[in-house]
Every structure is written in C-alpha cells, then in structure tokens.
Symmetry: C2
Subunit: 204 residues, 2 copies
C-alpha cells in the first residue's frame, strides 16, 4: 500500500519563506526548512530536486500573491504602473527574499503569468513586435533593479545619510544629492523611477 504524499509544494515554499522572514536568506537551509515543517531533512528531497529548486518554489510562491487581473485605470501607463506596484508589494513583503527573485525569475510559472498580464496592457496600448519586447524588458529591469537597490538601502535610509556626510571635495554631487534624497519614501522612489520608464515608452 503506497503511502500518500504528506507535503505540498505550497507548504514547502511557505515554510521556506517563513524561515527567510525570520532568519534572513543566510538562514535558509534544507535542515531549517525541514525542521520548520517538522519532517526529516531528507524528506524534502522527495519533493524538490535540490536547493535551487526549493528557492525557485519560494519565488513562485511569492509571485502567486500578485493579482494579475487587468487594472481599471484611464491610461495604459497607469494600468502598467498598477500591475508593477502589485508585484512590488508582493515581493517587498519579504525583503530578505528579494535577491532570490532576481536569480529565479525565469523558472517561476507565476513570473510568466505576470509578464503575460503586463504584455496585455502594452498590447492594448498598441505596442507590437520588437518594440513590445523591449518595453517589457525595460519595465521588468526597472522593477527588479529598483527592488534590489532599495533592499540595499532606500534613498531615505541610513546609507543615503552616510553618503550625505561624504567629503564634499571628493564626491560633491553625491553628497548634495544624498541630502536632497533624505525625505523620499521607498514607495515614492519606486513610483517615480518607474514613471520615468513609462514616460519614455510609446507604442508608435
């Protein structure tokens, strides 16, 4: 009599994410995830190929939380922005996991689901062919790049404060820019950066 599988991929991904949220990315080990679920380390290998696969499950699980129904907004730029903000919210809910999204973005089915939705907005706006491909990549680049930058230190954070205290002789512009950047919130930074990209894009 075959024993039924006792774990699901979602369960494993959720446990891994809990470990990351609690102990950081450095705390993510096969042993830790197994313990979190309450199973032997080797039991995990019944469900995932290796550690890479486990990480991929985590990324897919995070992106599963992104609602990809077409946003109702008057302009295509606002609709694209709304989609990207949903993705940012879902990813930023687990800041320590951000680096994983950059490495495993291509193996997660839910990443494709998101890309398809974003392409829907672009297609409706009149983007076709190569132009649409470039537009998608630029948006994804800004989305993930901006998330990575903000995880290292948002404009309004301590890193920027340190830059503001830099010797004016060597980095005058960096110091001055850092001082002006102090009051910018991560939300604002994300929005305004993406707005630049969207403003530079046109379907024709």
């Amino acid at each position: 009599m075959p024993r039924p599988r006792s774990l699901t991929e979602a369960q494993i991904a959720a446990a891994a994410l809990a470990v990351i949220d609690r102990d950081g990315l450095g705390g993510l080990t096969m042993r830790a995830v197994a313990k979190e679920i309450g199973v032997s380390t080797m039991a995990l290998y019944r469900y995932v190929e290796d550690r890479e696969h486990l990480e991929s499950l985590v990324v897919d699980h995070m992106l599963a939380a992104v609602d990809v129904t077409p946003p109702a907004a008057p302009t295509w730029r606002e609709r694209a922005m709304a989609l990207c903000e949903r993705a940012r919210a879902a990813i930023d809910a687990h800041p320590a996991a951000v680096p994983l999204t950059l490495v495993h973005r291509h193996t997660a089915p839910n990443a494709m689901r998101f890309a398809e939705a974003l392409l829907g907005v672009l297609a409706e706006a009149g983007f076709t062919g190569e132009r649409r491909a470039i537009a998608l990549r630029a948006l994804l680049g800004q989305l993930f790049g901006s998330l990575a930058l903000m995880r290292l230190g948002p404009l309004g954070g301590p890193g920027t404060a340190a830059l503001a205290a830099l010797p004016d002789e060597e980095f005058p512009l960096l110091a001055d820019t850092a001082r002006h950047a102090r009051p910018i919130t991560p939300d604002e930074e994300f929005r305004r950066g993406l707005e630049l990209v969207l403003r530079g894009m046109s379907p024709g």
Copy 2:
C-alpha cells in the same frame, strides 16, 4: 623584524575574479582563492575581514575598470548613455560575477566614483535636488536590473526561444513577443532599454 605584507587587495580581487570566470560563482571559496594565489587559506584573513569583504573587493575591482571621464557627446542623454555602456562593458566582461554587483554595489568606492560621474552629466543637464536623486536611482536600477535580466537569459537567447514555443492558449502574448525578440542582441537590448529611461527624464 616585521615581515612585509605579501599580498595587495588588487591581487586578491584579481585572483577571486579569475576563479569566478573559470569555475562560476559557486566555485568562489576562500580555499580556491588562496590556492589561486598560492598561499594558505588562512593567509587571506590577514587581508579581508570575511567572505563578504572578499566579494566586495571583487565588485570594486570590476568597477575600477570603468573610465569615468566625462564623455564627449552632443547631448546629455548620449553622455549618460556612454557612461552606462562603459559600466556595462566592465561588468559584462565577467558575467558570472553580475549577481555580486547587485549585493555589494553600496560598499564599493568605485561604485561611488561612477555615481558621481553620472551625477555630473545630470547636473550639467540641469537636474537638481530630488529630481536628480530619482533620475540617478532610475538609471542605476535599469543598469543593474537589465544586467541581471540579461545574465539569466538575453532576449535573443535560448530562454526566449523556449518562451516562443509556449502554448499559445495560456501565454499568447508572451509566445508572440518572444518570437519577435529573437533577433535582438544583448547590446541592442541594453541600449534600447536605457534609452526609454533617458527619454522619460527631463531636468525641468
């Protein structure tokens, strides 16, 4: 009689980069770097705090190769583009090391040197205050985000080819877009993405 230091940071960084280029990021270990130099593993700890510090040296070493003298081009957008293309060339010369640049960008002095140069172009173009801060971050986000995306698979690569073969019913736009993206070279992808960002920016 105190023995003189036998290693330099540049030498260590170069050895680490050689290891990465040869064996990938997974091959980067303290033991491998020490062996590459021809010294005991523990000798490295005379020069670097820990593995994190070693990685930071690698990133700084890669960015040291970026020429930050102001490019001579008619428009500020072309000058900004030229600077970013120099950075891309330096980083892309070591594709396996790209993920490190995302994690250690903030601790590398040469990253600040590059940011200062880019701010020089923006300042000359009339960007000031918050606007300049946002513009810098958007450019850096696109630069690093785009590099990360291209490392996973350029638009013209096998990943895109796989997407093009996707079932049309589930991902019609993704499949179609992937087909049109096939002939786009990494160079073109990088340039055109960054152009979108630059086009969307204005100093006033």
